[in-house]
C-alpha cells in the first residue's frame, strides 16, 4: 500500500521557525507587525498538520494507485480520483492553498512560514500538493507583471482555487534548452492580445477536473524573435476564455492531448498540451510585448521559476522526511536479530542495531540540515521583499539567489538517497509497495529533474552565482560562514568546529580550482559542477547545523536533563554532530578528486562505453 499513514513530526519545524531563526525580526517588519505574533505559527502549523494527517495523506493511496486519467475532450479531459475534490476543497477552504501566493494583500503571512506548510503537505502526498502549488507559482508572475485590469480578471479566482494555473515551458524539442521553443505568438489588432500556436509537454497540473479553468503561462516567440532565450515572451493563456467581467467564455482552443505515465506522482497530471490546433487560441502578453525581437518572457518566468526551485527543495524535504518517519516507526517495532553486544540474548527491535541507528541518524540529520538551508532561504526571500532598507533587501536577495540552486539540487539529490536509506531500514519489506518508502522513492525522483535539472542548477551555482555582481555577494556569503566558524567555537563542539575549519578551507580550495578552470579547462568545470555544488551545500548546512547545535546545547543546559523537551535538544545535538563528522567530510573527497583532475569521463572513446 502506498504511503497513507501520516507520521510526520513538527517539533523540529517549530524549533527552526520559532527558536532558531529570528522570528521577532520578521514579525517586526511593516508587512507583518500588525497582524502576527509568534504563537500564530503554532495555530497555523497545527491546523495544517491535522489536514495533512486526516485528509491529504489518506487520499495518497488513490493518488498513487488510481492516479489521473486522460479521457480527452475539451471540457474535462483529465479525471482525478473522486477523493481529490474533497481534499482540494478542504485545503482551499482552510486557506492553505494558492492564496499564499498573494504577496501584496494586507495581512499576508510571512513567506518563511509557508515553507513548513508546503513541506508537511508534501509529506502527506507528493502528488496531491501539486494541485495548488503550480497555481500559486503562476500568480507570482501575474501579480508583478500583468496590467491591473488583467490581474483583476484572473487573480482572484486563482487565489481562491476556483481556477488552476500552470507554467508551460517544455516542448518535445525544448527541454533544458528552453531557447529552442517553437511555440509561436502572433499580434492581433487588439493591443496586448496575441494568437498562439504550438505544443507543450511535461506540463504539471496542466489540466484536471477539480477546477473550472486553467490559466496557463506560455513561453512563445513572436515572428521576429531573436534566436535563443532572448526572443522568448510569456503570455497568459486560459483554457476557457475569461470575459471582461471575469465570467467564463468559450473554450480557447487549448487541448490536452495526453498525460504521461510516470514512475511516481501518479496523482499529478503531467500533460501534453496543444495550443491553437483550430487556429483559435488567444492569450494576453504579460507586460510589454517584445521589442526588436527581444521578449521579457524568460525574466518573468524566472520569477516563478526561482520560487518553484526552492519549492522543489521543500517538496524533496517533505517526501524524504515522510520516508524517514516511516523508517523510524518500523525500526521501533520490527524485532530481528540479537544485539552485537549480547549475541546470546533475545532478538531485539532493529533500532537497537548499530547500522540501523546509523541510517536513521543519517536521515534525521540530513533532513534537519536541509530544513535549515531551505527555511533560511525562505527567510532571505522575506527580507528581500519586506526589509526596511534597500541595502538589507539587496543582500538578502543575493544570499537567496546563491542558496537557491543548492536548495533545489542538493536537497532533491538527498531525497532520492534518503528514501533509499528508508527502504534499507525496512530490509526486504522496503522493496514492497505496501510500505511507505517505496512510493515516496518513486515520487521524489522527479525533483532532481524538473525546474531545471540538477546539473543545470550546478552550472548556475558554479557559474552565475559565484560571479554575479563581480563576485561580491558570493564573497560575503563565504565570509559569513568563515566568521561563524572562527568566532563561535565552544568546548562542547570543539571537534565539530575543527572539522568545519578543515571543510571550509577545503571548500575555498575547491572554489579557487573552479575559478581557474573557468578559463583554463571548461570541461573539468563541467565534470565537477555537481560535486562542487554538493560540497557547497555541505559547508553551508554544516554551518547552519552547528548554529542550531549551539542553541540546542544552551536550551538543554537551561531546561535540565529531566525536562519533557530534553530529548528533542539531545536529538538535535546528535544530528549536528553526526552531520558534521559524517556528511560534511565528503567535501575532502571532492577536493582530492579535483586536484587529481581526472578526465577519463571525457577521454573515454564513445564506442568504449559498452
Amino acid at each position: 500500500m502506498p504511503h497513507d499513514n501520516y507520521l510526520y513530526q513538527t517539533r523540529d519545524i517549530k524549533f527552526q521557525i520559532k527558536e532558531w531563526l529570528d522570528i521577532d525580526k520578521i514579525l517586526s517588519l511593516d508587512a507583518y507587525k500588525d497582524y502576527y505574533g509568534a504563537d500564530d505559527f503554532d495555530a497555523i502549523c497545527d491546523v495544517n498538520y491535522k489536514i495533512c494527517r486526516d485528509v491529504i495523506c489518506p487520499a495518497n493511496k488513490d493518488s498513487d494507485e488510481i492516479g489521473m486519467k486522460h479521457v480527452g475532450g475539451n471540457e474535462k479531459a483529465v479525471i482525478s480520483p473522486d477523493v481529490f475534490k474533497t481534499v482540494y476543497n478542504t485545503v482551499i477552504e482552510a486557506g492553505m492553498g494558492p492564496g499564499f501566493g498573494d504577496r501584496q494583500v494586507e495581512g499576508r503571512m510571512p513567506l518563511y512560514w509557508y515553507a513548513p506548510i508546503l513541506e508537511m503537505q508534501t509529506g502527506a502526498s507528493p502528488a496531491i500538493v501539486m494541485l495548488w502549488c503550480l497555481t500559486q507559482g503562476a500568480t507570482t508572475v501575474l501579480q508583478y507583471n500583468l496590467s491591473q485590469e488583467l490581474q483583476e480578471r484572473f487573480l482572484p479566482k486563482m487565489y481562491s482555487g476556483e481556477w488552476g494555473g500552470s507554467m508551460c515551458l517544455t516542448e518535445p524539442g525544448a527541454g533544458s534548452e528552453v531557447g529552442a521553443v517553437t511555440t509561436r505568438c502572433f499580434p492581433t489588432d487588439t493591443p496586448g492580445l496575441w494568437k498562439i500556436k504550438g505544443q507543450k509537454c511535461f506540463i504539471t497540473t496542466g489540466d484536471w477536473d477539480g477546477v473550472e479553468n486553467i490559466i496557463h503561462l506560455v513561453l512563445a516567440k513572436d515572428p521576429d524573435a531573436k534566436p535563443g532565450t532572448a526572443g522568448i515572451s510569456c503570455l497568459v493563456v486560459p483554457k476557457f476564455w475569461v470575459n471582461e467581467d471575469g465570467s467564463l467564455g468559450a473554450w480557447n482552443d487549448v487541448t490536452t492531448t495526453g498525460i504521461e505515465h510516470k514512475l511516481g506522482i501518479h496523482g499529478s497530471a503531467t500533460c501534453s498540451l496543444a495550443f491553437g490546433e483550430n487556429d483559435n487560441c488567444y492569450g494576453w502578453m504579460i507586460g510589454d510585448g517584445p521589442v526588436d525581437g527581444r521578449g521579457k518572457g524568460m525574466a518573468q518566468m524566472f520569477q516563478m521559476m526561482n520560487e518553484e526551485r526552492i519549492n522543489t527543495g521543500i517538496f524533496s524535504l517533505g517526501a524524504f522526511g515522510a520516508a524517514y518517519y516511516a523508517a523510524l516507526d518500523y525500526a521501533k517495532a520490527r524485532v530481528q536479530s540479537k544485539k552485537s553486544t549480547d549475541p546470546k540474548g533475545p532478538s531485539v527491535r532493529i533500532i537497537e542495531h548499530e547500522d540501523v541507528r546509523r541510517m536513521l541518524l543519517l536521515q534525521k540529520s540530513v533532513m534537519e540540515a536541509c530544513r535549515a538551508l531551505l527555511y533560511s532561504s525562505y527567510y532571505y526571500i522575506d527580507l528581500s521583499k519586506e526589509a526596511a532598507t534597500e541595502e538589507e533587501r539587496e543582500l538578502a536577495e543575493d544570499f537567496f539567489m546563491i542558496q537557491n540552486p543548492l536548495g533545489k539540487a542538493y536537497i532533491s539529490d538527498m531525497a532520492w538517497q534518503m528514501c533509499a536509506e528508508a527502504i534499507q531500514v525496512h530490509g526486504g519489506y522496503g522493496f514492497m509497495e505496501e510500505y511507505a518508502p517505496a512510493s515516496l522513492a518513486r515520487d521524489c525522483k522527479i525533483y532532481s529533474l524538473w525546474e531545471g535539472t540538477n546539473f543545470i542548477q550546478s552550472q548556475d551555482f558554479t557559474g552565475r552565482k559565484f560571479t554575479m555582481k563581480k563576485g561580491e555577494p558570493f564573497k560575503k556569503w563565504l565570509a559569513e560562514i568563515g566568521d561563524f566558524i572562527a568566532n563561535k567555537k565552544t568546548p562542547e563542539f570543539a571537534a565539530e568546529f575543527a572539522m568545519m575549519e578543515r571543510a571550509f578551507a577545503s571548500f575555498n580550495s575547491i572554489v579557487d580550482m573552479n575559478a581557474a578552470w573557468t578559463t583554463t579547462n571548461k570541461q573539468l568545470k563541467q565534470l565537477f559542477a555537481t560535486r562542487i555544488m554538493h560540497a557547497a551545500a555541505r559547508v553551508i548546512c554544516g554551518k547552519l547545523m552547528l548554529d542550531q547545535g549551539l542553541l540546542a546545547a544552551s536550551k538543554l543546559a537551561e531546561l535540565g536533563d529531566s525536562h519533557f523537551d530534553a530529548n528533542f535538544y539531545k536529538g538535535k545535538i546528535a544530528s549536528v554532530k553526526f552531520y558534521i563528522m559524517n556528511v560534511v567530510p565528503e567535501i575532502f573527497g571532492t577536493e582530492e578528486a579535483m586536484k587529481a583532475a581526472d578526465t577519463s569521463a571525457i577521454d573515454c572513446p564513445e564506442d568504449a562505453f559498452m
Partner: protein
C-alpha cells in the same frame, strides 16, 4: 437566538499518556479541543449559517491553557468566548456548577456540548448543567431541527433512533456522528485573535469525587506464534483461546 457551546480542553487523542508520581504527566502534551465538543461547535456554526443562531458564545472552564480551546472554536466561526478560571482538578460537579453560573448570566436559547470528554469519559457535565439550571436535556443527538422555541432532536437509542421534541432553552449534547467539524481556516485563525474573550472566576463548589490513583492499562501481553501443520496449529490455537484467553464457546 443565542447559542452557547461548552467546550473542554483535553489531551490530544494521539498523545502518549505517561504517569509521573501517580499523576498524568501533562508537560509537553499537545492539548486540543475535546473532539465531541468540536462537533457541538460545528453544530452551532451550522445553525448560524442557516440563519437560526445570531450569536455563538463559547464557554470553557479550566486553566489559562483552556484559552487555546476557546480560540480554536472562535477560529472555526464562533463569535466570542468566556473563560471560567478554575482549577483543572475540579470534578464534574464543580465544573458543572462553574459552567452553569456563567451560562445563567448569558441566558442563551440553546446550550450545546459534546456528550462526553475524550479524557475522563465521564459523560456527566451536560446533564449536571441542565439539572442545575432546571432545563431539559437531550443527549447523544445526531440531528436537530429548530422551529420557534422548540427543538426536535434525533438521538441514538438502543437498536434505533429516538426523536425528541423539547422546548427551549434546553441543553443538547451531541454524538460525534452529528456532523464533520470544519478545520479552522487561516482567515478564521487571524479573525479569532480579535474576537472578545472574557474571563470570570468560577463559582465556589467543593469536589464530590476524590481521585485516589491513576494507572495505565496493563501492557498488552505478547501473542503466540504457532509453527506446525495447519490442523495441528488450529487445534493448538483453539486450546489457547479456550484456556488462556478464556473465549467461551456456546
Amino acid at each position: 437566538m443565542k447559542v452557547l457551546v461548552c467546550v473542554k480542553q483535553t489531551f490530544d487523542t494521539e498523545a502518549k499518556i505517561e504517569l509521573k508520581d501517580g499523576k498524568i504527566a501533562d508537560a509537553g502534551i499537545n492539548l486540543i479541543i475535546n473532539p465531541y465538543d468540536e462537533v457541538a461547535v460545528e453544530g452551532a456554526i451550522q445553525l448560524k449559517e442557516k440563519g437560526i443562531a445570531k450569536e455563538i458564545v463559547i464557554v470553557a472552564a479550566g486553566s489559562d491553557k483552556a484559552m487555546d480551546a476557546i480560540r480554536t472554536a472562535l477560529a472555526m466561526g464562533a463569535d466570542r468566548g468566556i473563560l471560567v478560571q478554575q482549577d483543572t482538578a475540579a470534578d464534574e460537579f464543580a465544573r458543572a456548577v462553574a459552567l452553569a453560573e456563567a451560562i445563567k448570566a448569558e441566558n442563551p436559547n440553546i446550550i450545546l456540548a459534546g456528550h462526553v470528554a475524550a479524557d475522563d469519559g465521564s459523560s456527566q457535565v451536560p446533564t449536571r448543567v441542565a439539572e442545575i439550571l432546571g432545563l431539559p436535556h437531550v443527549n447523544v443527538i445526531t440531528a436537530v431541527e429548530i422551529a420557534g422555541d422548540k427543538a426536535t432532536c434525533t438521538s441514538e437509542a438502543d437498536g434505533g433512533t429516538q426523536v425528541t421534541e423539547v422546548s427551549l432553552p434546553a441543553v443538547i449534547s451531541s454524538q460525534v456522528s452529528w456532523n464533520e467539524p470544519r478545520y479552522p481556516s487561516m482567515k478564521g485563525i487571524m479573525a479569532a485573535k480579535k474576537k472578545p474573550v472574557a474571563t470570570a472566576a468560577a463559582a465556589a463548589a467543593e469536589n464530590k469525587v476524590k481521585i485516589l490513583e491513576f494507572s495505565l492499562p496493563p501492557a498488552k501481553a505478547a501473542g503466540i506464534k504457532l509453527e506446525d501443520e495447519p490442523e495441528v496449529c488450529a487445534t493448538k490455537l483453539a486450546e489457547w483461546m479456550k484456556n488462556t484467553v478464556k473465549v467461551e464457546v456456546k
